[in-house]
């Protein structure tokens, strides 16, 4: 059973546009929601993260929006750049055992 559901599977955005990736979860035991960015040939790297006690977190062009009641969270990339082209994974952490569960990933392509 997939703990974190992520969509879309792939996304193509024009340079300067907004990229939006969505994730949903069911387990209310999750207490931390990071997003990871993975470039080809590299391992995933932490991009930005949020706790469920806040509804939004912004770091530069990257924003997480969190809806606790709907059990959904999303990543917004403003002013998308070709260098943002990568695979993005959402994740959720269950505090007990410090276990992380990952979404299926979204392949983002930003075209010039």
């Amino acid at each position: 059973q997939q703990q974190v559901k992520q969509s879309p599977q792939s996304l193509i955005v024009q340079k300067g546009g907004i990229s939006i990736i969505n994730c949903a979860y069911e387990n209310t035991a999750f207490d931390y929601f990071p997003w990871y960015q993975q470039f080809p040939g590299k391992g995933p790297a932490l991009l930005i993260a949020i706790r469920p006690d806040v509804s939004e977190k912004k770091e530069g062009r990257f924003t997480i929006s969190f809806n606790k009641s709907a059990k959904q969270f999303s990543l917004h990339i403003m002013d998308s750049q070709p260098g943002d082209s990568a695979t993005y994974f959402c994740a959720a952490r269950r505090l007990t055992g410090n276990q992380f569960y990952f979404g299926t990933g979204t392949s983002l392509t930003v075209i010039p």
Binding site: P34, Y36, P44, L46, F89, Q99, G103, G105
Partner: protein, 112 residues
């Protein structure tokens, strides 16, 4: 930049061979993980360890085995490789209650 290293990065071996994927981290993290990732697919946790002499199986059943004799070292072994083992294997580490998982760059295994 995470200090977690995996070798080999790429490996092509024949069916039936024994292989060991090496993973080392210099951050002193107690918790370490092995994830399996097929192209364009989610990360599946196959093994994790809370510390020396601790190993646990993850959510995805795997024929591989792991050992944790030293804090910094978490090798993964396949006793008899099969084509179905062809995949990318990602090693990661975190502090026991840490919010961030640090990934290595991955080991691409192809079994022919």
């Amino acid at each position: 930049e995470a200090d977690i290293y995996q070798t080999p990065r790429y490996l092509v071996i024949g069916t039936g061979k024994k292989i060991t994927l090496e993973c080392s981290q210099t951050m002193g993290h107690d918790k370490m993980y092995w994830y399996q990732q097929d192209p364009g697919m989610e990360l599946h946790l196959i093994h994790y360890s809370y510390g020396v002499n601790s190993t646990e199986k993850g959510d995805l059943s795997s024929e591989s085995t792991v050992s944790r004799i030293r804090t910094e070292h978490f090798p993964l072994t396949l006793e008899s490789a099969r084509p179905s083992h062809t995949s990318q294997y990602l090693c990661a580490s975190s502090e026991p209650a840490g919010n961030t998982i640090y990934f290595g760059e991955g080991s691409w295994l192809t079994v022919v």
